[in-house]
């Protein structure tokens, strides 16, 4: 049985054929026509799902009609409409709203938990917490995590991941401005050697990147640039197979320029064929009250199109409306 997201609502469906349908609220719905199939597809195609259209189409069909729709859908799109509906209606909109409604620290705790429970742990979330968040913010998240899940974040992370990812989260970096210039120099050399020899699980690299303060690391990265004429991030080649390498690279990027990092996450989320609504939601919802405005500006600079525009293009329905609202908040 197809699922629908909520109450049946009387709305109209647009006339357009083709894969994308503009939903026209307020009109009377029309009786079944072959054109309806297109509307149904349109309602699930692209980013997000138009629940109201789904509701209006499927909700008003009887069993025979629903079966016909399902068969036709399968023939044309080689996919099971049910499966598609299930995944689309798992509620990007619902998820986004739920996350938005939580207290910031609680929200981050939930996101961390979700990230850990995936079969392939989403290390981005963990690294963001340990490299971008201030120590006070991170502590608030840890407390919220303990309150909600009844054990510590470190326990869960350590038992779901191997290696050093979990440990990095425990590190409470010095958050002041004092740096040791001599140390910056020597540690820049250590990093350079490790990169040159592609030995990223070198213990010293882990030690430096996960324990030094942000100020100290910035000084180190500056020394690196002075000495080797290139920013350290440019020397970190993308090799998707090495998860450990990727984690170190992400950490360095987060520390080096967090807003640029977030812009990249959003850009990738939007460009990806098939969706990364989770990443899109995460960045927009968690940064909305922090630095989303600057991330928007960076996005525009990089892509020559506004983030609002890109989000509107790639998402639809309630989900789109909600994201746009959050994006517009500072205006």
């Amino acid at each position: 049985m197809p699922t629908n997201g909520g109450d049946v609502v009387e709305i109209g469906v647009g006339e357009q054929c083709g894969n994308v349908v503009d939903i026209d609220l307020g009109e009377q719905w029309r009786p079944l026509r072959p054109g309806k199939l297109t509307a149904s597809t349109g309602a699930v195609a692209g980013w997000g799902t138009d629940e109201k259209a789904i509701i209006s189409i499927m909700g008003h069909r009887n069993a025979v009609q629903r079966k016909l729709i399902r068969q036709a859908y399968e023939e044309i799109y080689q996919e099971d409409l049910i499966k598609r509906l299930e995944s689309e209606l798992s509620g990007h909109f619902e998820k986004a709203v739920f996350r938005w409604v939580l207290d910031p620290a609680d929200r981050d705790a939930v996101l961390a938990n979700v990230a850990m429970k995936q079969s392939k742990v989403d290390y981005h979330v963990i690294i963001e917490l340990s490299c971008i968040y201030s120590p006070e913010e991170l502590l608030a998240v840890k407390r919220a995590y303990q309150a909600r899940f009844k054990h510590s974040m470190e326990e869960d992370l350590a038992s779901h991941t191997s290696g050093d990812l979990g440990k990095a989260l425990g590190i409470y970096r010095y958050d002041g401005d004092e740096i040791d210039a001599r140390l910056a120099k020597s540690e820049a050399n250590v990093l350079h050697n490790a990169i040159k020899e592609k030995v990223f699980n070198h213990e010293e690299v882990i030690r430096i990147v996960s324990t030094r303060s942000k100020a100290q690391l910035m000084a180190t990265f500056n020394r690196y640039k002075d000495k080797y004429d290139t920013a350290i991030t440019k020397h970190l080649v993308d090799d998707p197979s090495d998860q450990y390498l990727a984690a170190v690279r992400t950490s360095i990027r987060c520390i080096n320029d967090p807003k640029k990092y977030y812009e990249k996450v959003i850009r990738n989320a939007l460009n990806k064929p098939g969706t990364d609504e989770d990443a899109l939601t995460r960045v927009i919802v968690t940064r909305a009250e922090k630095d989303l405005k600057e991330i928007k500006e960076l996005y525009y600079k990089r892509n020559s199109v506004s983030l609002d525009h890109a989000v509107a293009k790639e998402t639809s329905g309630d989900y789109e409306a909600f994201l746009l609202t959050l994006l517009g908040k500072e205006d």
Partner: protein
């Protein structure tokens, strides 16, 4: 003769733990120059110089400096905010290197979650560094992973835990320790994970199951005097651990580093569980801790320690 007794008294006043200020004042302060000279000629603290005078042996003067300072150090340490205190103790341990790793383990494992975190904050203020980076930088090889994990822990402090995880983790520990072969269990990621992230109630269950599987307590299965053993002791039976520190400190042949344990334990546990430690001490050693201190320690330093020890009774902790 009274003089011989007095000489004995002054010798004694200058030896051991702390300094007997009263004797020094009443006796030494009153001696005629000839008496003092006799003392110097007979004393092991002095040496006949080639230019025909009795000279203090430098080593003894240095030691005296330390002994005079014990009271001051104890008082200053006592007055500090617990966070500053722990931060400074850790800094000293980091500087001292290998021989003081147990202090880092001790503090990381016996403090409450918020107190450990407070110490980490205080460390930032005092030294413009994090404990993590200093410990990481200064701890070589095999101990590094364990130590960083311990100092950066933020354990859940509620009572809930999973009996099943505790059982399986006890098995994991048992295998890692007993079937280690060449590998040092301290190098084992799972061992470090369990000991540094699990809550204390959870670990209590783990250690209980460990004993059932192994037949022995976990610390009995570990090589003497390693950071891993200290970790396990501090997490399972902290009182026993502290008693060991106290006994080692009051051993007549203890070195300076070990002697500092006396001040540290009394100052840091006075308002926490010193009373329980003292009771355990009595049970284990057959003598009251207060008595032992009375016997081994002198002067203001002794009085101060005994006062700290007596607090437990008054505060009803």
């Amino acid at each position: 003769m009274a003089v011989a007794n007095e000489m004995g008294a002054i010798t004694k006043a200058f030896s051991g733990f702390g300094v007997d200020e009263k004797s020094l004042i009443t006796v030494l302060g009153k001696w005629h120059p000839e008496q003092t000279k006799s003392f110097r000629k007979a004393s092991q603290f002095f040496i006949q110089d080639e230019r025909l005078f009795e000279r203090w042996i430098d080593k003894h003067v240095e030691q005296l400096k330390i002994e005079f300072l014990r009271f001051k150090s104890a008082v200053v340490l006592w007055t500090m905010h617990p966070w500053e205190r722990d931060a400074r103790l850790i800094k000293d341990a980091v500087i001292d290197g290998q021989k003081s790793t147990n202090v880092i383990v001790e503090i990381a494992c016996t403090r409450s979650c918020d107190d450990l975190f407070g110490a980490r904050k205080a460390y930032h203020s005092l030294f413009d560094r994090s404990i993590e980076e200093d410990v990481a930088y200064n701890t070589p090889g095999i101990e590094r992973m364990l130590l960083i994990a311990l100092v950066s822990s933020y354990r859940y402090e509620g009572p809930r835990f999973h009996e099943d995880s505790a059982k399986s983790e006890a098995k994991t520990l048992c295998t890692a320790i007993k079937d280690a072969g060449d590998k040092n269990p301290m190098d084992d990621q799972e061992v470090v994970r369990i000991l540094s992230t699990r809550s204390k109630p959870h670990l209590k269950a783990v250690f209980k199951h460990y004993k059932e599987i192994s037949g022995k307590n976990i610390d009995e299965d570990l090589v003497a005097d390693s950071s891993l053993k200290h970790t396990v002791q501090c997490l399972s039976t902290p009182h026993t651990y502290f008693i060991k520190v106290l006994d080692a400190a009051m051993n007549p042949v203890a070195d300076e580093n070990t002697k500092e344990g006396l001040t540290r334990v009394l100052v840091t546990r006075a308002d926490v569980d010193m009373k329980l430690i003292a009771e355990e001490y009595h049970k284990q050693n057959g003598v009251e801790l207060a008595q032992k201190i009375e016997q081994m320690v002198k002067g203001n330093f002794k009085e101060f320690l005994l006062t700290l020890l007596a607090r437990g009774d008054q505060l009803k902790k």
